[in-house]
C-alpha cells in the first residue's frame, strides 16, 4: 500500500493564526493571519494579485484575494465581506483562533512589465482589496516605477474601505490619490462625488506607452473604466484586471472558474484587456 506521508497533496490546508482583525466598514472585516509554523510563515511569499484558499473545517473553503504586499513579509492580510456560511463562521473567530489556508494561487499582476512605467490603479468597491497589494508593492519599491495614480470609488462614504490608511496616503508626494463616492450620504465627504470614471478628468497628461493600468471592481464597472483607459491610448495588453469566479480547488482541477478554455485560478485571476477580447465571457 502507498505510504501516505510521501504523497504530495495540494489540497491539504495549513493552519494559520488570526493575529489581528478589525472592522473596515459594516460586514467588511480586515484580517491579519500568519502560518502557525513560523518557518513557513517567514518563507511564505506571493505576488500581488494572487489569492489563497481559506478553510474553516465543516463549513468549506473559498478563495480570498491577498490584500497585503510581499514586500512586507511574515503576515498575510485579507479584507473579507460577510456574505455566506464560510464568512459568517470566519467573522465569529477571535484573535489567536486558528483558520486554515493554502496557496498562494493564480498568476498575479505582471509586475515585470509594469516596472519603469507610470501606474494607474483603478478600484471600485471591494475591488480595492486585491489592488491594495499592488498599491503597497509599488510604494515599497517606489524607485522601480514611474508616477503612481490611485483612483478609488465606492457607493458612499460609509463603504470606503481602509479609509484611515488611504487618507494618510494623500499626504505623500509620490502618489496621487483620487477618491470618489457615487452619493455623499454623510455630508462630511471632502473628496469627489460621482462614478469612478469621473476621476479620469483629474489625471494629468500621461505617456500611454509608458503607462500600465490595473483595474478591479464590480462586473459592471469594467466596461466604463476600460473605455477611459482606451481613450488615454494605453495599450490593451498594459491594462490588467483581476476577476472573481467560483473556485473550489485553486489549482485547475475542479473546473468551476473556467472561462472559455482557461481557468481563472491558474491562467488568472489577472487577465489583460487583450485577453478579454479573445475570451468573451471574461467581463
Amino acid at each position: 500500500m502507498t505510504k501516505t506521508q510521501q504523497i504530495e497533496n495540494p489540497y491539504i490546508p495549513e493552519p494559520a493564526r488570526i493575529v489581528r482583525h478589525y472592522d473596515l466598514v459594516k460586514d467588511h472585516r480586515f484580517f491579519q493571519v500568519r502560518h502557525v509554523d513560523m518557518k513557513r510563515a517567514m518563507s511564505f511569499t506571493y505576488n500581488p494579485g494572487q489569492f489563497i484558499m481559506l478553510s474553516i473545517p465543516g463549513l468549506g473553503e473559498a478563495p480570498f484575494s491577498i490584500s497585503s504586499t510581499p514586500s512586507r513579509p511574515g503576515i498575510l492580510e485579507m479584507g473579507i465581506r460577510k456574505v455566506g456560511k464560510l464568512t459568517e463562521a470566519l467573522f465569529k473567530k477571535k484573535d489567536n483562533d486558528i483558520i486554515y489556508i493554502r496557496g498562494p494561487y493564480g498568476n498575479g499582476f505582471k509586475i515585470d512589465q509594469m516596472r519603469g512605467k507610470d501606474i494607474i490603479i483603478v478600484a471600485g468597491g471591494l475591488g480595492v482589496i486585491p489592488l491594495r497589494s499592488i498599491l503597497y508593492y509599488v510604494l515599497d519599491n517606489r524607485d522601480q516605477f514611474g508616477r503612481l495614480f490611485f483612483l478609488y470609488g465606492a457607493k458612499n462614504p460609509d463603504e470606503i474601505l481602509f479609509k484611515t490608511e488611504f487618507f494618510q496616503l494623500k499626504n505623500r508626494v509620490d502618489i496621487e490619490c483620487l477618491y470618489t463616492v457615487d452619493v455623499d450620504t454623510s455630508g462630511e465627504w471632502t473628496e469627489a462625488v460621482g462614478v469612478v470614471t469621473r476621476l479620469f478628468e483629474h489625471l494629468p497628461e500621461i505617456d500611454p506607452s509608458r503607462s500600465a493600468a490595473v483595474v478591479c471592481g464590480p462586473p459592471v464597472m469594467y466596461k466604463y473604466v476600460i473605455q477611459e483607459l482606451l481613450k488615454l491610448k494605453i495599450p490593451k495588453n498594459q491594462i490588467q484586471m483581476t476577476l472573481e469566479r467560483k473556485m473550489e480547488c485553486g489549482v485547475g482541477k475542479c473546473g468551476h472558474c473556467v472561462l472559455d478554455h482557461l481557468y481563472t485560478c491558474i491562467d488568472g485571476p489577472v487577465f489583460t484587456y487583450w485577453d478579454t477580447l479573445h475570451f468573451r465571457e471574461l467581463i
Partner: protein, 343 residues
C-alpha cells in the same frame, strides 16, 4: 512497439493470471446496466464493443468520496481507495479519455487521488467495433498508440497484442507460452481487413475538425437559445462524458459537538444552476444557454491550457443519453448548417 500474437483459446486463462498484478476491474453487467466494476469471474467481462453507461473515468476520478477527515488538529487526507488494480477491456476512446484527463489531473500540482489511482492501475485495452452512435472515427480516437500496458485486437481466432509498457511485458512473461512473436503476412492481412471492416461499420460522423472555428464564429448565434429552451439541465451529458472532470466539495460535520467531519468530493456539472454561483450572490452562468455554450466550447473547441484541444473523444454517450437530443451530433449539425433540428 512489440506486437505479439495469442491464440484466442488462451484469453480466459491469461486474464485470470493477471490477478497477481492486482484486483481485476472491467465492464460487467449489473442490474441491466453495463458498468466498470470489480470482476469476480472473467467470464462476466463484456469485451465486445458495448459502452458502459458511466465511463471509465469513475475508476480514477471517483464519483463520490471523502478527500479528507478533519478535527481540531487539522485535515488528514484519505487514501483508502488506493489498491493495485488491473483494468481489463478499455476501448481506444476510454484510453484517449484518460490521456485527456491526465492533462488536467496530473499537471503540476497533481491531484493526489487521481494520480494514486492511475499509478496503481494497469490498463489492458481491447479493440471494439462501433456501436450505433460511435463517433470516434470523426474525432480521430478510434485507434490508440499509447496509454495502455497491453492492448488486444480481436481477430476472432487470434489476438494481436500490443505491449505498451514494461509492466505489460512482465504480464506477458508470466504466461510466455501463450504468446507467439511470429506475426505472419496472413495475420497482417487479417488485421488490415479487420480495420477496413471496422471503418465501414461507422453509421454516424460529424465535422469535428472544423468545429473549433465554427464554435468561435457562432458565439453569439441565436441557435444557442433554441437548445437552451430544450435543455432540461439534468446534467446527464456531463456525468456520462468521459472527459468531464468537474467536481464539487462539501464539508460534512459528524453528528457531534466536536469539530470533526469529512470533506466530500462529488462529480459536478456545468449544467447545474449553482456551477458558477458565488457568494454575494452573483451567478456568472445563470442562463441555460451560457451553461450549454461552456460545455460545447470544451468538447468541440478547446479544453485546457493555451493551445488546448477539443475534449470530445467520440464515444457517443451524449447521443445515447440526452432525453431531448442535445449532443455533439445535433450541436455540430445545427451550427454547421445554421439550422435548428426539425421538431
Amino acid at each position: 512497439m512489440r506486437i505479439l500474437k495469442m491464440d484466442s483459446k488462451y484469453l480466459k486463462e491469461f486474464l485470470e493470471s493477471l490477478r497477481m498484478f492486482g484486483k481485476l476491474y472491467g465492464p460487467i453487467w449489473k442490474r441491466d446496466v453495463l458498468t466498470h466494476d470489480h470482476v469476480e469471474n472473467v467470464d462476466d467481462l463484456v469485451l465486445d464493443g458495448e459502452h458502459t453507461l458511466i465511463p471509465v473515468k469513475k475508476l480514477f476520478h471517483p464519483k463520490r468520496f471523502n478527500t479528507m477527515r478533519f478535527n481540531e488538529e487539522g485535515f488528514t487526507p484519505n487514501y483508502s481507495m488506493f489498491e493495485k488494480r488491473v483494468l481489463i477491456g478499455a476501448h481506444p476512446c476510454d484510453i484517449h479519455s484518460l490521456l485527456r484527463l491526465d492533462e488536467v489531473f496530473l499537471t503540476d500540482p497533481a491531484d493526489p487521488y487521481y494520480k494514486g489511482l492511475r499509478e496503481n492501475t494497469a490498463i489492458i485495452g481491447f479493440s471494439c467495433l462501433p456501436t450505433e452512435n460511435s463517433l470516434c472515427r470523426s474525432t480521430g480516437t478510434d485507434i490508440v498508440e499509447s496509454g495502455f500496458d497491453l492492448f488486444f485486437v480481436d481477430l476472432e481466432d487470434i489476438y494481436l497484442v500490443w505491449v505498451g509498457s514494461s509492466l505489460g511485458h512482465d504480464m506477458i512473461l508470466e504466461k510466455e507460452e501463450f504468446f507467439d512473436e511470429n506475426v505472419t503476412h496472413a495475420d497482417i492481412q487479417k488485421y488490415i481487413q479487420w480495420r477496413e471492416m471496422r471503418n465501414d461499420m461507422f453509421k454516424k460522423s460529424f465535422n469535428f475538425r472544423d468545429m473549433p472555428d465554427i464554435m468561435e464564429l457562432s458565439y453569439n448565434s441565436e441557435i444557442w437559445d433554441y437548445f437552451a429552451e430544450k435543455c432540461l439541465s439534468c446534467g446527464s451529458c456531463t456525468m456520462v462524458c468521459p472527459t468531464c472532470n468537474c467536481y464539487t466539495l462539501t464539508d460534512v460535520f459528524d453528528v457531534t459537538n466536536k469539530t470533526e467531519g469529512r470533506r466530500e468530493r462529488v462529480w459536478d456539472s456545468c449544467m447545474f444552476v449553482d456551477y458558477s454561483l458565488v457568494a454575494g450572490p452573483h451567478n456568472f452562468r445563470g442562463k441555460r444557454a451560457d451553461r450549454l455554450k461552456l460545455w460545447y466550447t470544451h468538447k468541440l473547441k478547446a479544453f485546457g491550457g493555451e493551445y488546448g484541444r477539443p475534449a470530445c473523444i467520440g464515444c457517443g454517450r451524449c447521443v445515447d443519453t440526452c432525453p431531448v437530443d442535445i449532443n455533439v451530433l445535433t450541436i455540430a449539425e445545427a451550427f454547421t448548417s445554421c439550422e435548428v433540428p426539425a421538431k
